[in-house]
Symmetry: C2
Subunit: 150 residues, 2 copies
DNA sequence: AAGATTTATCTGTAAATACAAATAATTGTA
DNA sequence: TACAATTATTTGTATTTACAGATAAATCTT
C-alpha cells in the first residue's frame, strides 16, 4: 500500500488545512475568519445573494452560514433583507464596513496564495487550479446531495 | 476581484470536502471513518508508531487522536503499548481485526481516487500530487508550529 | 544525584460544525 | 380559493475538533 501521502484525499486535506490555519491566524487580528472572508468575497463578486446561493458557492453548510451571518450582521458587515420577489428567501447585502474589511482581506489572501505557490510557474499554477476544479466536478456527479429516499 | 473559485485555498477546501464526505459515507457501514482509515493506512505502512508520530503523518491533532485511538482500541482495531525504550511514549499496534478492516478499506480508497481523477492522464495525476506536496512544504516553512511565546 | 527543563500523552472544556426538525412562505392543483 | 407539496431559512442538539492545562517520564545541568 505504501505511505499515506500517495492518496489524493490526504494530500488535499493536509495542504488545505495548512493554508487555512495560516490564513486564519493572520486575519484574526482583523476580527475575521476564513469563512467570513469567503462570504465577503462571494458578495464582492455578486452582491445581494440568497443564503442558499451563498451556501452553495462558499461550500459553507446553510445552518452554519445562518449563524455566521448572525455574527456578521451584528458586526455590521452585512444586512439581511427579505427578497422582494420571494419572501421565503433572504438576501445579503454588504455594508460600507463590509467592503472596507474586504479591501483589507484581499491583499492578505493574495499574499498567502503567493506563499503557497512559491516556485510555481504560472502554467503550473493554472494546471493545479484547473485540476482541482475538475476534481470537484468529478465528485459532484457522485455527491447526489441527499434527496429524499424515494 | 472576481469569483471565489480563483482562490487556491477555496479550491482545495471544496474539492477536499467533497471527496472526504463521499468517502466517509461509503465507509460508514463498515464502522469506519476517514480518520480511522488514515490511522490504519499509516500503521499499515509502518506499524508500532508513537502517537506523536501518527499525529504528524495523519495530520490529526494529538488530542483528537487520543480519543480516536480510544475508540479504535475499544473496537479492537489497535492496541496501545508503552514504548519500551521511552516510557513517556505510547506505541500503537494493529490487531488482526485492524488488518482485516484495512484490507476492506484500501480498495474503497482506491476506487474513490479513480472517481476523483476520472479523465486525468497519469501524467496529470502525478503533477497534481506533486503540486500538493510542494504546496504543503511551502506552507510548512511558514507554519511555525506554535512555539512558546518567548 | 537533585532539581529544572523538555518531551509525550491525556483530559477539561469551549468553539465549530452538521444533521434533523421546526417555521414560514410560495407554488401547484383540484 | 383551499389543500397539498415544495422551497428557503432558522433553531435544536449531538458530534467533532482544537486549544490549553494537567500528568508523567525522560534528559540535561550543575
Amino acid at each position: 500500500m505504501g505511505p499515506l501521502d500517495v492518496y489524493l484525499p490526504y494530500l488535499l486535506n493536509r495542504a488545505g488545512a495548512r493554508i487555512a490555519t495560516a490564513f486564519s491566524e493572520e486575519v484574526r487580528p482583523l476580527g475575521a475568519t476564513l469563512q467570513i472572508w469567503r462570504v465577503l468575497a462571494a458578495l464582492h463578486d455578486r452582491d445581494r445573494r440568497r443564503m442558499g446561493d451563498l451556501s452553495e458557492t462558499t461550500s459553507i453548510e446553510v445552518s452554519t452560514l445562518t449563524r455566521l451571518v448572525d455574527a456578521m450582521e451584528k458586526r455590521g458587515l452585512v444586512v439581511r433583507r427579505r427578497d422582494a420577489a420571494d419572501a421565503r428567501a433572504v438576501t445579503l447585502e454588504v455594508t460600507a464596513a463590509g467592503r472596507r474589511l474586504t479591501r483589507r482581506l484581499t491583499p492578505i489572501a493574495e499574499r498567502y496564495e503567493a506563499v503557497a505557490l512559491r516556485g510555481f510557474e504560472a502554467r503550473e499554477t493554472e494546471a493545479l487550479k484547473a485540476s482541482l476544479r475538475r476534481l470537484y466536478a468529478n465528485m459532484g456527479a457522485l455527491t447526489v446531495h441527499r434527496r429524499r429516499p424515494g
